[in-house]
């Protein structure tokens, strides 16, 4: 009898604990929902948002809702805080925050770029799983807890660069690329596959390379007119061709990016 009474007391205590935990979780969840906001941190030059079909000036401290279209003018920028993450909307950009939600499962933000470029510095919200997607007309990039630069232009297509961490870029037509280090993802509009990730380093040396015995004036001349003359001093292959029967001295300093 005494044992059963003690058991009942224990069960009541457990129920109490569960309900208190439930209340605490609910309060944290509501606090989390309240935290989900997009705020304008700073504005330089012309920056506006669209409301009822009209462009209105964007101001520091302003709060923006889901689906707001934001646009910047020439030489302008706007910095937005999306919870703890920072979004730098660079000049001549039009973008939209499609969705921004915090649930007990995680934080989910989806931004779309019509044209222009943004820099996104993503930070996790507490211990929540943080998803940050940036879409353009050709592909979507997905980032978790790092930084990325995304550009979209009609001619260039989508360009993604992640100075640190890992970024995924892909679309629903079979493109899926993992980006790390100094690689750049470029998917031009209308193309089925992205360019090689180190395309921007192809046919280029990191430093100008000149054949031996050139005077400074000759180096200046090659620097200015080499491309037009078809004599590209920057092409290491050409220099190697000329050096086949001679000696070349090369001083190379390589700094690895962490």
């Amino acid at each position: 009898m005494f044992r059963e009474g003690k058991k009942c007391e224990k069960e009541d205590g457990m129920k109490h604990l569960i309900s208190i935990t439930g209340v605490v979780i609910a309060v944290l969840f509501i606090a989390g929902m309240a935290f989900a906001e997009i705020r304008v941190i700073s504005v330089k030059g012309d920056a506006a948002y669209k409301k009822s079909g009209r462009w209105l000036d964007l101001r520091k401290g302003q709060k923006l809702g889901d689906g707001t279209l934001i646009s910047t003018g020439a030489g302008s920028r706007a910095v937005l805080a999306v919870d703890k993450s920072m979004l730098r909307v660079k000049q001549l950009t039009t973008m939209k925050v499609y969705a921004h939600k915090i649930t007990k499962k995680g934080s989910n933000t989806h931004v779309g770029i019509k044209y222009g470029s943004i820099n996104a510095r993503i930070k996790r919200v507490g211990k929540l799983k943080t998803k940050f997607k940036v879409s353009t007309p050709v592909a979507t990039s997905s980032v978790r807890g790092t930084e990325e630069n995304i550009f979209y232009g009609v001619r260039t297509g989508m360009l993604v660069h992640a100075p640190s961490g890992t970024v995924w870029a892909g679309n629903n037509k079979g493109v899926f690329t993992r980006l790390t280090g100094n690689r750049k993802f470029n998917l031009p509009a209308g193309k089925g596959a992205p360019r090689p990730l180190l395309w921007w380093l192809q046919d280029k040396s990191w430093i100008p390379i000149y054949p031996d015995n050139l005077t400074d004036a000759e180096k200046d001349f090659f620097g200015n007119f080499g491309g037009d003359l078809g004599a590209e001093p920057q092409n290491p292959g050409d220099v190697l061709d000329q050096q086949l029967e001679g000696m070349a001295s090369v001083n190379l300093i390589i700094e690895w990016i962490n």
């Binding site: 009209r54 462009w55 000036d57 020439a74 660079k90 001549l92 039009t94 007119f225 037009d228």
Partner: protein
Amino acid sequence: MRKVQILLVILLFPAILFAQGAANVTLINQIADKPVVNTGDAVSMFVLILDERNRGFDANVATLTKRNIVKDEKLSENDPIRQGQLARMIARYLDLNDSLMYFLIPSNRYAFRACVANNIMAHDGGEWNLLSGGELIEIMSKVSVLAGGGEE
């Protein structure tokens, strides 16, 4: 009465400036949606890149002439702009004289080549090509970065 007028102008000046910001953004977005842009659009974009006020076609052309971006060519507001014409204005603005052929023959053709060499325009086009609004915005964005006016 005069004091009141001066006071009103001083008080309204920031409001006029703010309204200009939204007006510029409206104009840029209107241009961006055009399938083919005209000379008036290109001239307006150039003026915005120069951080000048957009005051209508004639005043904008005068601003560009003052800066040696437009010289003796006759510009008509409603004519579609060719890539070569725009390239020539860009080459003058950015002083792209390091291209030997453009340096020797400053024509639309070699201005376009100079813009391609500087990654401002795409190599698969030509100086006679027309431009869409999206293309014009992308080109002018690159010009602004090269001129030191905006972030890459």
